[in-house]
Symmetry: C2
Subunit: 580 residues, 2 copies
């Protein structure tokens, strides 16, 4: 993992392959690497779909090793959705396989001269690029089926669906999971549109004959991993809650806390929550022969196993167990309590290649505009179908909530920097509001998951309904997250790392043992700050100001039931998040 | 004209009428007044369609007097198109009549509780507001017909078409002309959407029994007006060019200069220019019994008379003589050389209530996206029809070029701050590029019409193809324009004012004689600077930075034939425009 694969899709004689040493980027991985490359090489004022933007795909520092949980991959670029820098993070097999193939990053550059569609094959023999227009407008499921037939059952695929080809701002980059299904997505920020603008439909990764990456100090590495896994197993969130019911365990939790955004962020509790909760979902999945609990990771080496599989009424695979944010987006946020309809939309999103959060938020805005009624599951599915078909309406929706609100003249549009808010109302989880407002990414829960401390009591306790303490909380979480996102580690390790000093130490030991370093906790903090600073600098150069670090007006004006409060953190406080 | 009419459309018991003295706003009119009110009273971060935005309609300082050319009116608000401050300027009868009714401004505030549509009648007896849902979705032509039947042939109407009701960002506010036709529009920036968001379909102004506004020094005022008119008559542009062929006299001029943006700003000359030039148009209009030249002003008191009427093939009135920018937008920019088709689109724009410049630029972007072929007049008309129907495609287009580019993934979108560029390519008229980039309004030729000096040799001479001198030129024009836009004077007086010191003095004499002042040229400059400073301040607080004072990438990259040059003014130079 000491080289960068650069492919210039705009070269005169067709795509041009180059391998660069890491050089200045040595010691970086995942988000750290994508953000440094974008920050240094992409002109902030460029058009996101133009030749000057770059799509950077980077496994984490520990990906491709025996370290558990190290299978996350970062996709970075200038975002077509936000106009700022973007790192979108995904599970699936991509990180482990790409790392074992020796690449710290793939960088897609330039812009093709015509609309030829390409596939890229990377294996032990090198890199091959082929034009293949037979793949045009294939959904991710059909695409992967076709690639499986051609390249076998072991390859990992990175791909875009029709949404990416249409360059829609909600388009995702899909990563196949352990069953070679395109269920894991770098969903946020329209990274799929950038891949589409580069004319690349699929990257096929084959790590046959490639070895696990060796640590500098194998014994210490092994020991650290053992300690690390033990820490994850003993923490109640990673050892019990997530494995038992998956991420959707949060539906009941957030609903009880009054922070479950319902009917396009109109109230904080949803009557139908019980029908779509993780508990209900897991029981249903088990009853149909799917895997509802504790059996399924999204990538090799996962020990939390928060995922599962969702079978339809006839017992046939429909989709992976929909995540909490997806169930919320297509569920409560649209007033929908039909878990089968929600699972169907999850499948459609994965197939078209769009972000489930952005799509659910968008459909709710469309409902506010009168295009369907809140609670109308079939109406929501019909809207989503338009996206796959690429009709004018579908293209509006596929460009996300902000564009949809603009086109239909809707005022209540829950976005920051053009990106839709996820499943936590910032009025009832005020720390989350600080993260939404200030992160470089646009409204993004993963950028500084204050829910942990506001609601779950992890990493201390800060009252979710009050502004006090939220700035510091979000700041620290954003710094830690930027660092974790660089390791390839699943963010869910943070629960144990925040609460258990020995698990945090084990993570540092893993890095030190693998790379032969002597890092301390301070170095991790410094890395996080360096990444955030780079990202903020990009955004400033792209024209962002503190005015963009704000929630939409209605969070300050409309009181959220049942707590009947507004977002109370002041603008002046928000401007302190990055003053460390 | 010493009071402000404020109507709170969001009051609990229905619309609430209030009359305020001018107070702090004394001495201001037109753009000066709209920008000061918006700058002081509208929170820059508010949603443009929300309760906190205000729509300000203000005649100029000399409107409603015997001063010639004083019939321009300003419409201000936070723009739904740009997100910044907006002053959109129109001719028609509104300014003269509203001024004579004694109002310095109408301010529409608040947001109605439901979707009831209102009309407002203002006459000598006062102000009356009535709900009238029978007006819903009427085109401006049918609407005005209906209002004429109800209120007589002498009233002036200010109205929105279906586009304004749908809150589309290209929606205009229409003003009836001397023949009581809705042909004059505050087109730019989506001011019609803001009027729509206030629930106001029409304002009917009846100045029966109201007198001409009296000057402090009537004799001096009369003498100054005589000198002023003489100055306009003797200048070749206002005395000959504009009256003879209307604004469309510019087609041949710009085409010869290689600065006529053709096929979505791909080249600077259009083969079909001769077929749609002012000379051709005027001859055609005359041959059909319309008025092709020197006979028609858009408001009482106009002595330039640059307008005319366009009859269809059967000799029936179709639309007013389409202006140069309209003919360009729907013509050369889309590769269309069919003057009848262009006139038809002008009529449709006026009827739907959308900005002709934005719509033409949008259709060209749609053509670039493949929705119709360049040169396909019927295809363009069909696209425009969608806007009137309010289909999803129509709503995309009706939200302007930037949204259309975004939705269809088009990279070459000629906008600044979200507003489409008018009929002068910034590469071949570099001074215009400076104005487009830096004006507070988004790309707007009227904000600092460098064409005058770059192309027409008015106000000196600056080579249009070189960056030298453009900053100073644009700066001075922007300052002068902000001041002129406050007087109610048509901007076309600038040709004579720039070239003839005695005509400039006559303008100052008009103001001094009317208000009993002792202003000098320096005071006029100071007023212009004050307005620009207020507008810039609003935009900064709305989140604009110098990064928004830039042209899109492709003007720096693609060379424009026939001169084969790019836009060469540097970013550093652009940032000097407002350093005076």
């Amino acid at each position: 993992m000491d080289k960068i694969l650069r492919i210039n899709m705009g070269a005169d004689g067709g795509p041009e392959i180059k391998e660069d040493p890491l050089g200045d980027y040595a010691g970086l991985g995942g988000r750290g690497l994508t953000s440094m490359i974008v920050g240094k090489e992409v002109p902030p004022s460029c058009h996101p779909l133009g030749e000057d933007n770059k799509l950077v795909i980077a496994p984490g520092l520990l990906s491709g090793t025996i370290a558990s949980m190290s299978g996350r991959i970062s996709v970075g670029c200038k975002s077509p959705l936000t106009g700022g820098i973007k790192e979108s993070n995904s599970g699936g097999q991509g990180a482990q396989v790409l790392a074992r193939l020796g690449y710290a990053a793939i960088v897609l550059e330039g812009k093709p001269k015509d609309d030829t569609l390409y596939k890229i094959l990377i294996n032990k023999d090198g890199v091959k690029i082929e034009a293949d227009n037979s793949l045009k407008m294939l959904g991710n499921y059909d695409l992967v089926e076709k690639l499986r037939a051609a390249y076998g059952e072991k390859v990992a695929c990175i791909s875009i669906g029709p949404a990416g080809e249409m360059k829609l701002s909600a388009a995702s980059v899909a990563f196949t999971d352990m069953e070679q299904r395109p269920t894991r997505h770098a969903g946020r920020g329209g990274v799929g549109a950038v891949m589409g603008s580069k004319g690349v439909k699929a990257i096929i990764l084959d790590d046959t004959d490639m070895k696990m990456r060796p640590a500098r100090d194998p014994e210490k590495f092994k020991a650290a991993n053992k300690e690390f896994v033990a820490g994850l197993k003993k923490h109640p969130v990673t050892g019990e809650g997530l494995p038992a019911f998956g991420t959707n365990v949060l539906t009941n939790v957030l609903n009880e806390a009054g922070g479950y955004p319902t009917l396009n962020f109109s109230k904080g509790q949803f009557e139908g929550a019980g029908k779509i909760s993780g508990e209900t979902q897991a029981a249903l999945e088990n009853s149909r022969g799917g895997e509802g609990s504790a059996t399924h990771g999204c990538h090799r080496g996962c020990v939390i196993r928060c995922s599962g599989t969702f079978y339809d009424k006839n017992g046939r695979f429909l989709t992976k167990q929909p995540e909490y944010e997806t169930v919320w987006a297509h569920g409560g946020n649209c007033g929908i309590d039909d878990i089968d309809a929600i699972a169907m939309m999850d499948r459609m999103d994965d197939d078209f290649g769009v972000d489930t959060i952005e799509m659910g938020a968008t459909i709710a805005v469309a409902m506010e505009a009168g295009l369907a009624k809140f609670g109308d599951a079939q109406g929501a599915i019909n809207l989503l179908k338009e996206v796959g078909k690429g009709t004018p309406l579908g293209r509006i929706l596929g460009n996300g909530a902000a564009v949809t609100g603009r086109v239909f003249g809707v005022e209540r549009v829950p976005v920051v920097k053009g990106q839709a808010m996820p499943a936590y109302d910032p009025r009832a989880v005020q720390g989350m509001g600080v993260t939404y407002a200030t992160t470089t990414m646009g409204a993004d829960h993963t950028a500084g998951y204050a829910v942990a401390t506001n609601i779950l009591g992890v990493g201390g306790s800060v009252d979710p309904l009050k502004p006090e303490g939220q700035i510091e909380l979000s700041r620290n979480l954003q710094i830690a997250t930027a660092a974790i996102d660089s390791t390839g580690m699943c963010l869910f390790i943070a629960f144990a790392v925040l609460d258990q000093p020995e698990t945090f130490q084990a993570l540092i030991d893993l890095l030190n043992a693998f790379y032969g370093l002597e890092m301390t906790g301070d170095d991790v903090v410094a890395l996080g700050k360096k990444i955030l600073t780079t990202e903020r600098d990009f955004n400033v150069r792209a024209g962002f100001t503190s005015e963009h670090d704000r929630l939409p007006d209605f969070f300050h004006k409309e009181k959220l039931p049942p707590h009947n409060i507004t977002f109370m953190v002041t603008d002046e406080e928000l401007d302190e998040v990055f003053n460390w």
